[in-house]
């Protein structure tokens, strides 16, 4: 992706701790799997409002897919990483590692 001499650019959508945590958590799920909004909120320890704002930014970048549905009469929202989001997370992780390598801080 980058040579040793050029520093990689970090994706600004993911380069914010809260959104990085959202993407890192969703990346653990398998390709065809989605996580319930409430479960994700509990896992990350965020408020519903805060998580919504971050998810909207990620959705605008086409990194997550948000699916609103019903379970019986209860509305449930499911969230999944898109292929684009998964690739962006992989690229971001690689870029961070390259930065650390260049700083001489990694093995």
């Amino acid at each position: 992706m980058t040579t040793d001499n050029t520093l990689p650019e970090l994706d600004p959508v993911i380069h914010a701790q809260a959104r990085l945590r959202v993407v890192a958590a969703l990346n653990v799920l398998g390709d065809g799997d989605e996580m319930a909004f409430n479960a994700l909120r509990k896992l990350l320890g965020m408020t519903a409002g805060n998580l919504s704002v971050h998810l909207t930014k990620l959705e605008d970048a086409d990194y997550v897919r948000i699916n609103k549905t019903h379970r019986g009469r209860t509305p449930v929202t499911f969230v999944a990483l898109t292929t684009r989001g998964r690739l962006a997370f992989e690229d971001y992780t690689k870029a961070i590692r390259t930065l650390l390598d260049n700083a001489g801080g990694a093995t």
Partner: protein, 206 residues
Amino acid sequence: MVDDERTPSPEEMLRVIEEQSVATTRWLRGDPLFLYAPWGVAWMLGFTALFLHYGLDGRSYAPISQMQAVGVLMAGQLVAGAFVAYGIVRMNKTTRGDSNARGAMFGYAWFAGFALMVVICSRMSPLLPPQESGLLWAGSSLMLVATLYMAGGALFHNWTFFFFGVWVAAVNTLGVLLGAGWHALLTAVLLGGGYIVAGVLVRRRS
């Protein structure tokens, strides 16, 4: 509230990624101790009771009837099954998708397997002496457990799960060859005790 106020360092971001990935995996899988240890306890108590009933030389070591011993085993397995049911309910509340569909089909395979086993064993066991009949039930149920654990390993790409199946298959084979008393003893110690130890080890490692 939305963005972090300062730009975090690459080290911090890498740590965030690693910590969040580990925390999520652990959270989704639940506590491995509760996946394995309840079965270990059920088998340890149930098969110890069966062992005391059969003895190694055909004489009982304690005044326990075969039905009482089977009752202890069944009660333990019901408790262990309740832990599995709780895990399934929790998983279905948390996620949906291909993994849940795979899990549901896997669950039906267990149910179908045991239903069929009950039909076969109920038909065959009246034709056998009590010890051999008990061995038929225990041996065939552990055969099912062994093969489904191995299939589960393949399904979820989980080597720990797969090797648990291999372990059950090996102990079961040896036990069936040696007879009802030995089968009960080996199952109580190596599978009952083994599952408790394995649950603790897997929990420490995760």
